[in-house]
Amino acid sequence: MTTAAITPALTRKDFTSDQTVRWCPGCGDYSVLAQAQKTMPELGRKREEFVFISGIGCSSRFPYYMNTYGFHTIHGRGTTIATGVKLANPDLSVWVVTGDGDAMSIGGNHLIHLLRRNLDINIMLFNNRIYGLTKGQYSPTSEKGKITKSTPFGSVDHPFNPPAVALGAAATFIARTIDVDGKHLQDMITASYHHRGTSFLEIYQNCLIFNDGAFADVTEKATRDDQKLILEHGQPMLFGKHRQKGIHLDGHQPHVVEIGDQYAVGDILVHDKTDRMMALILSEFTYRPDLPTPLGIIYQVDLESYEQQVHAQMKQAVEKLGTGDINALLRAGHTWTVN
């Protein structure tokens, strides 16, 4: 060991900017910000290597509050700006902060293409199932029939199911967490960071002004134990106050069973995060009142990232052709000389 200056460990404070946070008091965004600021120092990266990029929406204010590099871009395009940042400099740790409107409506096209390309970018999708910043219109994840300012008679469109969309777009990491569960949030942020390729982390976030209680069944004391299914790779899908309930598969159909005379723990579905079919079944739990809400890593596989392949091709070109000689390039093809 050398005695050279040891960089002092970073703390939450190092990741807190001097800007006043301007979300509504009690907004779920505060908790996510706090957990992110707590988690970043744990990741062992230099602060200057972090870049937080957002689109437009309440959550997209996030980069202003992180004392890292940050870019508050335009509606729906945080994903593509992040793509450019990561392509230009793959050594950076790039994070996209987005919402259900930003990522799944105006930026839907970019989201699916980022996921299929699998750049090593971490997406934090704050899903509050409403447009907050524009003061309360229904969003692409609002449940059908939602009464809002723009849908006084109830919305008639079917909502998107974010994990199913991500799965359909060939995402390699799909996880879900919730604003109020600090520890779980931190774990999921850490897991996103360590995943190679695009991580899609859906964060259920309460908008207390325009959609309060959207996730109350998962957060309220009275119901949460029966509504929250914490996924752990290799573990049976048990939940309930005494872990007395579980998910049983009947063909492809999941349903809730009680452990007892009829079903033993051995009958309960064991989570395999690498199983795409299981991920599809788990994503179908969304909007189903008879099934609990899965939280945790729904799906994860390891594939080479897009930028690794792009830069490998550039490296190969240099190995094969040598470092480019611009004078030779200009003279490529037929040239002739006039004296």
């Binding site: 590099y69 793509t83 040239t335 006039v338």
Partner: protein
């Protein structure tokens, strides 16, 4: 003047310049034929200019008028700037090609046709009631009607090829014949064919034989009593190559990357006629050029903005429809004061318009087509080889001044070609940038450097410069979000000044001809060659006409206003309804007049010349 060519029994006559148009069905390989003739002619040492013209449909119905594809070139022993006004020779591979192009041919010109294709079906498809080869309709021209199909089939007989392969080789017969007619060597095309079809030797053989058969046919046929020779042009000393605008543009970008030492990130989405730039850039990987084919135009420009934020030389390229989609993002680049180069290879609009035809109608769009007060630097290339210089210039200005720059070219420049004198790279103006490192003081991400009004380029990964930028209005120093009314006004003025200051960094434009006179022709973009040839002809006839051509459209060169007031008449020819003319009138309060054409085709020098003569004659009469 005539002499006997060695080994040839026929007279070889010397002429100064020729315009040839190759026309045929889209499947007849006319683009390849024309570009081969151009390449050979360039290497031979003539000056030349080309105009490819092809349908938007990949395969319009065979034999139809809509499916006609053509390639025109003018070559000369003198300096020339346009692909020629009226062709001297029309090669028409089928009746549709003859129908579409006959009216352009100069009277007394030569028509070369493949007689075999003038059958009932093709004649009907092209709307000929009678076969024009048989009646008097072509009497004003020299008609060379040859059954190319049969001659090629005979020549390829023992190769056992399908009828389709043989038919595909007919264009090489036509090329060989034209090579004989204009005394060009076959070597360059022979080498090209051998390389292009390397994996299919039978195709190489078929094409070579067809080419040589065409050449020898010229020598032996009684249809052609003589052939012609266009001596080498006396071009300024240097090393030359023949170059298309899109190629030159890509090379200009790579050169800027190399001179700046920056990684290039080029993000694009396929669009006619700009895709060739993306194609070219994707082959320069060993020059630290990263290309990204995005999912759409918005993704392309925003990925480029991200790359710029991260410290790359970021570029995106498109055409008019793509520019419309990129507008909001370009505003973001303006307000975040990031260097970015946006290339717009214009085509006929609005909407999908005429994808393969040329137009200059995106000037207003790039100047004004964004929300808010969002000025930026606009440049325009004047010729295919000028695309190199202006691409380099766009990158230079973007990084020196920390601003987005739009470079306008068009389909005619992008696909047209001309001989290009290779630049001395040491003489190019230096590339500068504003990379920042921590100094220990508080870092202000929007504090400007007074001589360029550039803010620091503080790229992620630099310790101590962590900062946030965004599309919301920013404080003029700290870069933090700021909604203060006075700050907004100051920032709005600052964004304008960032454009204006560039005028001090560009050369004044020169007047071609006299500094004063009866009329100034002011142009921008691809009208350069046509204007110059018109002005040259008029000046030779004693008219007091001068030319000024703008390559910097925003800001204008500082001397522009002074020049404009020295001429009582200002004419602005544009391939649009009059866009620069309105800007000039508004900006300088001068009575500039437009000359406008929106046919998806460039001006001919003749059209501009006629118009000016008319104006100046009316003046005399009046």
């Amino acid at each position: 003047m005539s002499e006997l060519k060695k080994g040839s029994k026929k007279a070889l006559e010397q002429i100064e310049q020729v315009t040839i148009r190759f026309a045929g069905d889209s499947g007849d390989g006319m683009q390849l034929t024309g570009s081969q003739f151009s390449e050979t002619t360039a290497i031979f040492g003539n000056d030349l200019a080309t105009l490819p013209d092809y349908p938007a449909e990949i395969r319009a119905p065979a034999g139809s008028l809509a499916g006609v594809s053509s390639f025109q070139l003018q070559f000369s022993s003198k300096d020339i700037l346009t692909p020629g006004d009226q062709p001297d020779v029309l090669v028409a591979m089928n009746p549709a090609a003859l129908k579409v192009h006959l009216s352009d041919l100069r009277s007394g010109g030569t028509i070369v046709v493949n007689q075999a294709n003038f059958n009932k079906k093709n004649l009907a498809l092209a709307g000929w009631e009678q076969n024009p080869l048989d009646d008097a309709s072509l009497d004003d021209y020299t008609l060379i009607s040859i059954d190319m199909t049969r001659l090629v089939e005979n020549a390829l007989k023992e190769l056992n090829l399908s009828g389709k392969v043989m038919a595909r080789s007919t264009n090489m017969f036509a090329l060989g014949l034209l090579y004989w007619m204009y005394d060009r060597p076959l070597e360059s095309t022979q080498q090209f064919l051998a390389a292009k079809f390397k994996k299919r030797p039978e195709i190489v053989e078929a094409n070579l034989r067809a080419l040589e058969t065409g050449y020898h046919f010229g020598e032996t046929t009684e249809l052609l009593p003589a052939h012609y020779m266009v001596p080498k042009a006396s071009l300024p000393p240097g090393t030359y190559r023949n170059i298309m605008g899109n190629q030159a543009l890509a090379l200009g970008l790579v050169t800027a990357g190399q001179k700046s030492g920056l990684r290039i990130v080029y993000a694009g989405y396929p669009i006619t006629p700009a895709s060739d730039i993306l194609h070219a850039m994707s082959t320069y990987k060993n020059f630290d050029v990263l290309t990204f084919q995005a999912e759409d135009e918005i993704a392309a420009v925003t990925a480029a903005i991200g790359a710029s934020f991260a410290g790359a030389l970021a570029i995106t390229g498109t055409s008019g429809p793509g520019m419309a989609l990129k507008a909001e993002a370009i505003g973001l680049a303006i307000t975040t004061e990031l260097p970015l180069v946006i290339i717009c290879v214009q085509r006929g609009g609005p909407s999908t318009g005429l994808p393969t035809k040329t137009e200059q109608a995106d000037l207003f769009q790039v100047m004004y087509g964004r929300n808010g007060e969002a000025p930026l630097v606009v440049l325009a290339a004047a010729s295919p080889s000028d695309c190199f210089d202006m691409a380099y210039e766009a990158c230079r200005i973007a990084t020196k001044f920390m601003v987005p720059v739009i470079l306008l070219t068009d389909g005619y420049l992008g696909n047209g070609s001309e001989p290009w004198r290779l630049p001395d790279l040491d003489k190019l103006r230096p590339m500068e940038n504003h990379f920042a490192t921590a100094s220990g003081d508080t870092f202000n991400s929007f504090e400007i450097e007074p001589s360029t009004l550039a803010r620091p380029w503080a790229i992620p990964g630099t310790p101590g410069l962590e900062h946030r930028i965004g599309g919301l209005e920013k404080d003029a120093v700290t870069g933090n979000v700021n909604y203060d009314p006075i700050n907004h006004e100051a920032m709005t003025h600052r964004r304008q000044r960032k454009v204006d200051i560039v005028a001090g960094d560009i050369a004044p434009t020169e007047v071609y001809g006299d500094e004063t006179g009866d009329l100034l022709v002011l142009g921008w973009g691809s009208t350069y060659g046509a204007i110059r040839s018109a002005v040259d002809r008029l000046r030779a006839q004693g008219y007091a006409v001068s030319q000024m051509h703008l390559r910097h459209l925003n800001p204008f060169p500082r001397n522009l206003g002074d020049v404009l007031v020295r001429f009582p008449r200002i004419l602005i020819p544009e391939i649009n309804m009059g866009q620069l003319v309105r800007i000039i009138r508004a900006e300088f309060l001068v009575d500039a007049k437009g000359l406008n054409k929106v046919q998806g085709k460039p001006f001919t020098g003749h059209e501009i010349e006629q118009h000016i003569r008319q104006i100046l004659t009316d003046k005399k009469d009046g």
